[in-house]
């Protein structure tokens, strides 16, 4: 997984031994402190609810710096989706990278068409973010495309510039 945003660029590999948790390695360039932070990550699925038409998830995520254990974060994230609609939220506390930061974000999305398995799937989304460093809330459109194991998310906001997220699931 590769992320590039106004706050950081990072590349992240993770392995999921079973549905309850995943282990990962992250290598991040922090754009605020301009430093590099390799870290180990852990994601735990707190709760999942499947229905015929929907899925809901709640995750706890944490990570700790491999060079300096004072660099760490913990986060709570959730999502609910059907084939047509998507909503998600995330709250994250980061510490040690020269600053502490609390971030909140949420997304809502709609699929303009319902593709079959293996088709190109498209989501039109709206994302809103706020962190306590600049204490300003920004909201912007986001395009998510995925096909097979590949996913790309792209968004643009004049204050944060491009926000790109690439993921491939093996």
């Amino acid at each position: 997984m590769i992320n590039s945003s106004s706050l950081a660029d990072n590349i992240y590999w993770h392995y999921t031994p079973n549905i309850n948790y995943s282990l990962g390695l992250d290598y991040q360039k922090d754009k605020v402190s301009n430093e590099y932070f390799p870290s180990a990550r852990f994601t735990y699925l707190i709760n999942r609810k499947n229905t015929e038409k929907s899925q809901r998830n709640l995750y706890f995520k944490t990570g700790v710096g491999l060079n300096n254990s004072n660099n760490h974060f913990y986060s709570l994230a959730g999502d609910w989706e059907t084939r047509r609609f998507f909503t998600s939220f995330s709250v994250k506390q980061s510490s040690g990278a020269g600053y502490d930061m609390f971030e909140q974000s949420a997304k809502v999305g709609v699929a303009p068409y319902l593709g079959d398995y293996g088709d190109l799937h498209t989501w039109l989304m709206l994302q809103t973010k706020k962190n306590d460093l600049d204490n300003k809330q920004i909201t912007y459109p986001l395009l998510r495309l995925f096909k097979g194991g590949a996913l790309i998310e792209m968004s643009y906001h004049k204050k944060t510039d491009w926000d790109v997220h690439l993921m491939y699931r093996f």
Partner: protein, 135 residues
């Protein structure tokens, strides 16, 4: 002359209709087992999709698996990956719209429903029903 032409046209159109009707009959009855009763219930599948799936696997046993939570390609991809590792599974079809997974088992007399449920669960999804259609 005119009558002969009309008679010829009528004969030809009847022959074409008969041939077309025969083809329809074949399409409706040959190899179509989506109307089968399974455990006293009608087979709960999209008929056209099922028929397409059955092409080339006449001697297979089919498991029609109803899955909860299969709302996106990413969820379904894990299921396909898991069952494709099973050498007895000769064909897989995932239908996101209906939440059904079709599994064709070649040479399988007994299909282990518990194993199917376990594999679906290991992918984070739930099985609500499995209908087995015999050879």
């Amino acid at each position: 002359m005119k009558n002969s032409f009309l008679l010829g046209l009528l004969t030809l159109s009847t022959a074409i209709y008969a041939q077309h009707h025969d083809m329809d009959s074949m399409h409706s009855h040959e190899g179509h087992i989506h109307n089968e009763m399974v455990d006293g219930k009608n087979l709960d599948v999209d008929a056209q999709r099922f028929d397409t799936f059955m092409i080339g696997i006449d001697n297979n046993t089919i498991a029609v698996v109803s899955v909860q939570g299969m709302v996106c390609d990413f969820c379904a991809r894990g299921i396909e990956k898991t069952f494709s590792k099973d050498q007895r599974v000769s064909k897989i079809d995932v239908d996101l719209a209906s939440g059904k997974v079709l599994l064709a088992f070649s040479g399988a007399d007994d299909i282990d429903s518990a194993d199917i449920r376990k594999k679906i669960l290991n992918n984070g999804l739930n099985t609500t029903d499995i209908q087995i259609v015999g050879k």
